[in-house]
Symmetry: C2
Subunit: 343 residues, 2 copies
């Protein structure tokens, strides 16, 4: 029986979602993968930090948070630790990095991931910033240290996208990627088609928890931009920088635009697009009017989808949730299981 020890950095929505499904399926996974999984620590600046090299109880940690208590009030172990300790000096083999995305400089995730990889710990992460901005550098460290850097959840949450392209479409040349990769904006656009103004639709999205109080990351296309960078650099083998991506949000779209498209049998969608054209790279995030021949036309609400154009298969389309507590936690579980199969 193999043994792996896991540390969790970031215990917000995604970290908790991952903890919940891992706690629920731990026994089944340990049996199926012939591996004993021990969670040795959690580090979160708000929810609390604790390290116990013999293992901590994930259910107790979740219970603490649900009751509004701090993790270190409930769980026995070393309390004076932080995320950097977990990523470097702890006995964890794998670090789950689930701190919030920062598309400006990738912090604090960038430092967490770099530290963990340099300390020969595998990384599983849902943090878009470090992968969008520093993928090639981080990958080099992972290769040198012979550890895995996995980040399935950075594009469509748990809906398969990265490993789907790399492993399941292996052998195909992917000539274009186009997708709806931000659920918040697709939800807003869907509501506008039902007659709501942009402001009303945004408020609705905020009430549902899809959009944040400061919604720029979604509505101005920064979230989709990060995903374009990740797909470009990881799937298409490019070295794309964020300045090279055309980015237009949905805030300029009016109800009249939506209505007039509808009359043409078209729908406005925020489309992420990536293509090589005679060596020139086309990379954009912008509203596009699309028709019924495009599977993206039928994507409603907060759902996401990607069309991969390939040489051997023509178009292959994948659709599923692109956000959510359990849906994103599933991406970390996918990455963990990938590593368990490989090591």
């Amino acid at each position: 029986m193999k043994r792996v020890k896991l540390g969790i950095i970031g215990f917000g929505t995604v970290g908790q979602g991952f903890a919940e499904i891992l706690a629920n399926k731990k026994e089944q996974i340990e049996k199926n993968y012939n591996t004993e999984i021990t969670i040795v620590g959690i580090a979160d600046p708000v929810k609390g930090s604790v390290y116990n090299k013999k293992g901590i109880d994930l259910r107790k940690a979740l219970e603490a948070v649900t009751k509004g208590k701090k993790i270190d009030d409930i769980i026995e172990g070393e309390k004076e630790i932080d995320s950097i300790f977990l990523a470097s000096k702890s006995n964890a083999d794998i670090i789950a990095e689930a701190t919030p995305t920062n598309i400006e400089n990738g912090e604090p995730g960038y430092t967490h991931i770099k530290t963990a990889l340099s300390s020969r710990k595998h990384i599983i992460t849902t943090n878009k910033g470090p992968i969008a901005l520093f993928y090639h550098e981080l990958r080099k460290i992972a290769c040198n240290k012979k550890v895995y850097l996995k980040f399935e959840g950075t594009v469509l949450a748990g809906t398969p996208s990265i490993d789907f392209a790399l492993n399941e479409l292996a052998g195909c040349n992917i000539t274009e990627i186009r997708g709806i990769v931000n659920g918040t904006t697709n939800y807003i656009l869907t509501k506008m088609e039902e007659g709501k103004s942009y402001e009303e639709a945004l408020k609705d999205a905020q009430a549902k928890g899809y959009a944040e109080a400061k919604p720029d990351a979604d509505v101005e296309g920064f979230d989709a931009l990060a995903k374009v960078l990740i797909m470009a650099n990881v799937i298409m083998g490019m070295e794309l920088k964020k300045e090279e991506v055309e980015r237009v949000g949905i805030t300029g779209l009016t109800l009249e635009d939506i209505e007039s498209a509808k009359k043409e049998g078209l729908r406005w969608k925020l489309i992420a697009r990536l293509r090589k054209d005679n060596g020139k790279i086309i990379a954009s995030v912008k509203p596009e009017k699309i028709g019924k021949e495009d599977p993206l036309y039928y994507i409603e609400g907060a759902t996401n989808g990607i069309v991969f154009s390939t040489d051997h298969l023509g178009e292959v389309f994948i659709k599923g949730p692109g956000a959510g507590r359990i849906e994103t936690g599933q991406a970390l579980l996918h990455d963990l299981l990938y590593i368990l199969r490989e090591i």
Copy 2:
């Protein structure tokens, strides 16, 4: 640098499609996977058989077939060999089995696959019969002999389905699978919606090469049945027999049925469905009227698609080609590359 030797059994449409894309991308693959690939033999009762342990030229074999010649007229090597020799005594490490599907008894694929696995050769195959009928037995041999048994192409050709469910949805419980897994019948139904009678639509499908002269395997649902068995036994962990699957073809559908569904905003589709309901297995292939809320509604012509219902992600939908020379050859390439990554 690793070295693998490959034998191809069955050099019809699929075998040739695989040979073509492998020949085109061999250098690139050898570089990316740090592996030298040698094709040591081809065995086909019609196109000819040849074995050369030092390697044969795939392009020459394809040229021979295109010119209507037999492979063994053109390529140097041992001519007195057959598929069983290739599967057992040859020096091949991997056997690509691409003989026609036989859903009655799985032959000749069953014997080819069993022989190859027993001789410690990895199998990559697109042959539905042996997997639909004898998966558990064949898997046991593969496990005992510590070789891979890969068959991505048996459900949606090269469109990801099997490994998609097993690896990319790993960690999820799949509670239901429903899909359009036969392109011929979906093509016929699409044409009937355009006003053609069943007979006209079938003739059209035959002219396009989608349907065979004797179209029963498709239109009576036997092809979809084989795929239901494969998904049940491989993805859902069942031990389902073909007698346990409800099977109704599309031959009973009239233009009136199609028209009346259209008036209700529905479409008739041949749906493969698989579900566990309180321990009871629901497994069927039959025409169902589906509505616009179902992504399968939008699948046109010969395209295929599957919806996986899961605990962590809700519904995940995949759509792509389900047949074709290169599209099915891609499935063999996918499986070959999977093995190259793992060994």
